[in-house]
Homo-oligomer: 173 residues x 2
């Protein structure tokens, strides 16, 4: 195990600025690129990250710390964000920054890393899970979606790169 | 084909700031994480991006525009950066920003997008390649390495996430 609360927060607090640097001001061609029918573009990934802040990580953590194994987490709809918001991307990136900052402040008040990381709750499909597993997942979930955003943007140049496709791991999918 | 020079530059000019936001100030545990023997950590990826700026993209483009198909590009050593530099990451990120900015300025003087994008040169393994393919590859290469950095950092929590591993695409590798 490598989990450390302060190191996890280092990553979590950097994600909004990373997405701001990566996406802010890009042309619609990049922002609307996806991997085909039923797949998300970069903006939809940001919507999903905002929705996850609101309903998944910290709410589930608070639920676990309060209820223990007695009740399952309320289900989380991974598609709830789709088609929800017509705000411009700049506003969404600000919103993600705000809700993430707020959640990291809550996290510090909710969790004592000496005592709470191995506390258990009940996931609706996995059964018994630990606070540490939920928090690690929050971190890796950010990484998954940063990788997804660059992958869906790369898709746009799949044909343009010509023979170099052989050297570009991101196009292997 | 989707290539557009101005849109390509949009991505290329954002990568140094994206890596700065993602990596600057992270603990050594994140920066040294890799995927096992012979794989790169985040800092080695930054070294590779700097080396590629110096010897790959713009130098090859200038060579293509000057030599056409008459001579193959000088070979590019994808491992030249390994073990080369002991500078702190903050300095490397500044260096990447500086060399990228310089290369984008050169790109604008070298290429007339109305005339030069379909011009051809000779790649040592692929044979005939186009300027547009080289430039698209530069963009997708950035995306490949951003995805690689978050993937090697995610590796660190592979065990910590417990049963959520099933939902985290980045750990599927």
């Amino acid at each position: 195990m490598n989990f450390d609360l302060e190191e996890a927060i280092e990553v979590l607090e950097r994600t909004p600025r990373t997405l701001e640097a990566l996406l802010s001001g890009l042309s619609a061609g990049w922002l609307r690129s996806n991997e085909g029918e039923g797949t998300w573009n970069a903006v939809e990934v940001v919507d999903h990250l905002i929705e996850s802040e609101r309903t998944n990580w910290v709410p589930r953590l608070a639920f676990l710390l309060q209820e223990g194994e007695s009740k399952s987490f309320p289900p989380f709809d991974r598609f709830a964000h789709l088609g929800q918001s017509e705000q411009p991307l700049a506003r969404k990136l600000e919103e993600f920054q705000a809700v993430r900052t707020e959640n990291l402040a809550k996290l510090r008040t909710l969790v004592d890393p000496e005592r709470d990381l191995e506390r258990t709750g009940r996931h609706p499909s996995f059964g018994i899970v630990r606070a540490r597993e939920l928090l690690s997942t929050w971190v890796v979930h950010d990484m998954t979606h940063i990788a997804q955003i660059v992958r869906v943007m790369a898709e746009r140049y799949r044909t343009d790169v010509g023979p170099w496709t052989a050297f570009l791991g991101i196009l292997k999918k």
